[in-house]
Amino acid sequence: MKTHKLIYLIALTLAVFPLAGCHKGLQKTTPLPGWAQKPPGNDDGLKPLDSGLKTSDTSAIGKDGLVPMGDKDLHNWKPSADQPFKGDTVYFEFDKATIKSSETHKLDSIASRMKGLQGKALRIEGHCDERGTEEYNRSLGDRRALALREYLVRAGIDYQMIDTISYGEDRPLNPGHNEAAWSKNRRGEFVVIEPPR
């Protein structure tokens, strides 16, 4: 259908344009290519979207307990206006990526409330305190986000609908240089995301 194609083209143009527009660096420097060359959402732009609803599908969990990243690209999905999990930030021990038993109730709550969010997905942001080197913390923050993702997948959330991103030590919640600040910075945050319009 022609109208369908037209809408698709507009959506594609809008998705690519902001990246093509950010061209103010060294004169020769090109905009970053890569994902932007492909339609958002891995070619299923305007098709019906999955919900996070799948229950008790734990087939994605490997023997080693690891859950591979899904094929669905959620990186360009945008945070929803409503963020119901702001108060559910999970905190970690120093230099650890294991989930404390005192924190699991937050994850259980997120898993059950997530099932009511039709068509939306979850982005887990992993963060560290400053007491580690930069790239070490980028990996540690990633490991934290992935540990939270594993828990939620075991609790029944579709692994394709959970994205992770590590900010390492780049985005501290508290800029202080003491344990009170650090304990708030070692965290995983949960952002509800939806497809770009």
């Binding site: 420097t29 094929d71 930069e134 790239e135 991103i165």
Partner: protein, 392 residues
């Protein structure tokens, strides 16, 4: 007998610098002594005749190349010269008065000419590669949660932005083929890009789900080691410089980070939490022979950097309250703690190290002469500078 020898050096890609050998007698044997670790002991020279910027550039350059300015009575060689119309310099052996080198420089700025003279003196006296005209890349924090990759002369002068993405950026690694690799969050997640410095062309290193981080290009420029989480944990991968032939080298459940390469581009050293705290490991680029690298005396070793001569691995050790720059022999063993700081990167002379220090978001880059532990901070750009990578 006088003869003319002209060599053209390209400095900054703009000025062409010419050096003219006025006279030279290279037949004299130069005495070189080595310390217990095998580093060349600083060669004592007495520098005179220069002024202002040329004088300070020359002296600073030579310190990081194993040549030390001392009182005339302590010196073995005299370095004399001038910087009027052009920079001129002579190296004379003190006792025999033999002139070993005499050169004049034309083109470029006086600063560039001083760097060229320093390189010529260091190469003559130490037989190590000159580093005074080399460059470094690093991360500049330009605001809260945003940064850019910059390049500058090794001493921090002539900084130039490589990226203008206004996004989080990390871990530049400089290839011998004029390509920079780094991770950018510009498209919504950390992703490794290659960036040809000549043409400005950029492309994602690999395509696939998840985040790619911490790229390290091999000394031959052909392979990239990096961290990828597509299997559900941040693991070590290697691919060709064009992103092809991706191979997973580790399948640990624990976070891995910060790969670097051996001199022959055959072995990767990286960080794993396999043993609890952070430890260094080596593995061959084909995935065989994984081995723990012992760092006796320090805990929490991260950010390894293999020296270009293959002998040393510099790394960051974490202690309560801070970080130290350390070195250990490439096969592992007792550790030498050199100075406070983090994220070391070796100069091509396998002697000088650039690193960063200071609290988060207020970091400054600093130069270190490993054998003498001489340290000098370089000018900071914007809020915070970190993750230096010395150009090969």
């Amino acid at each position: 007998m006088k003869y003319l020898l002209t060599s053209v050096l390209t400095a900054c890609g703009i000025f062409s610098l010419t050096s003219i050998a006025i006279s030279a007698d290279p037949t004299l044997r130069i005495e070189r002594n080595y310390d217990d670790l095998g580093f060349l002991k600083p060669i004592p020279v007495s520098i005179s005749g220069f002024s202002g910027e040329v004088d300070s550039v020359l002296k600073n350059d030579l310190i990081f190349m194993g040549v030390q300015n001392v009182a005339p009575t302590e010196a073995r060689y005299f370095i004399t010269g001038s910087n009027g119309e052009r920079v001129e310099g002579r190296v004379t052996e003190k006792v025999t008065k033999t002139e070993l080198m005499a050169k004049a420089y034309a083109g470029g700025s006086k600063r560039v000419q001083a760097h060229a003279l320093a390189d010529d003196i260091a190469k003559l006296l130490t037989q190590l590669p000159g580093i005074a005209q080399t460059k470094v890349a690093f991360k500049v924090e330009t605001g809260p949660s945003v940064g850019e990759i910059y390049i500058a002369d090794y001493d921090g002068h002539n900084p130039q932005a490589v990226t203008r993405d206004n996004s989080l950026v990390a871990a530049p690694s400089w290839s011998s083929r004029g390509v920079m690799y780094y991770a950018s969050y510009k498209l919504g997640k950390p992703e490794v890009f290659s960036h040809e410095l000549g043409s400005g062309a950029r492309r994602a290193l690999v395509h696939g789900p998840g985040s790619t981080m911490s790229p390290a290009v091999s000394p031959d420029g052909q392979k990239i080691a990096f961290i990828w989480n597509k299997g559900g944990s941040p693991n070590l991968y290697v691919c060709q410089s064009d992103g092809s032939s991706v191979q997973q080298l580790s399948k640990s459940r624990d976070a891995e980070s910060s790969p670097c390469w051996s001199r022959d581009s055959q072995t990767v050293c990286f960080v794993s939490r396999e043993r609890g705290p952070a430890n260094l490991f080596t593995i061959s680029a084909n995935g065989t022979g994984r081995r723990h690298l012992s760092t006796v005396g320090v805990g929490n070793a991260t950010e390894p950097a293999w020296s270009p001569d293959g002998k040393w691995i510099a790394f960051t050790a974490q202690r309560s309250g801070g970080f130290d720059i350390c070195i250990v022999k490439a096969q592992g063993g007792p550790v030498m703690v050199l100075t406070e700081g983090e994220d070391p990167s070796w100069a091509p002379n396998s002697r000088a190290i650039i690193f960063c220090k200071g609290p988060d978001h207020r970091k400054v880059l600093s130069l270190l002469d490993a054998p003498t532990r001489h340290v000098k901070d370089i000018a900071r750009i914007s809020e915070s500078n970190s993750q230096p990578s010395w150009a090969p």
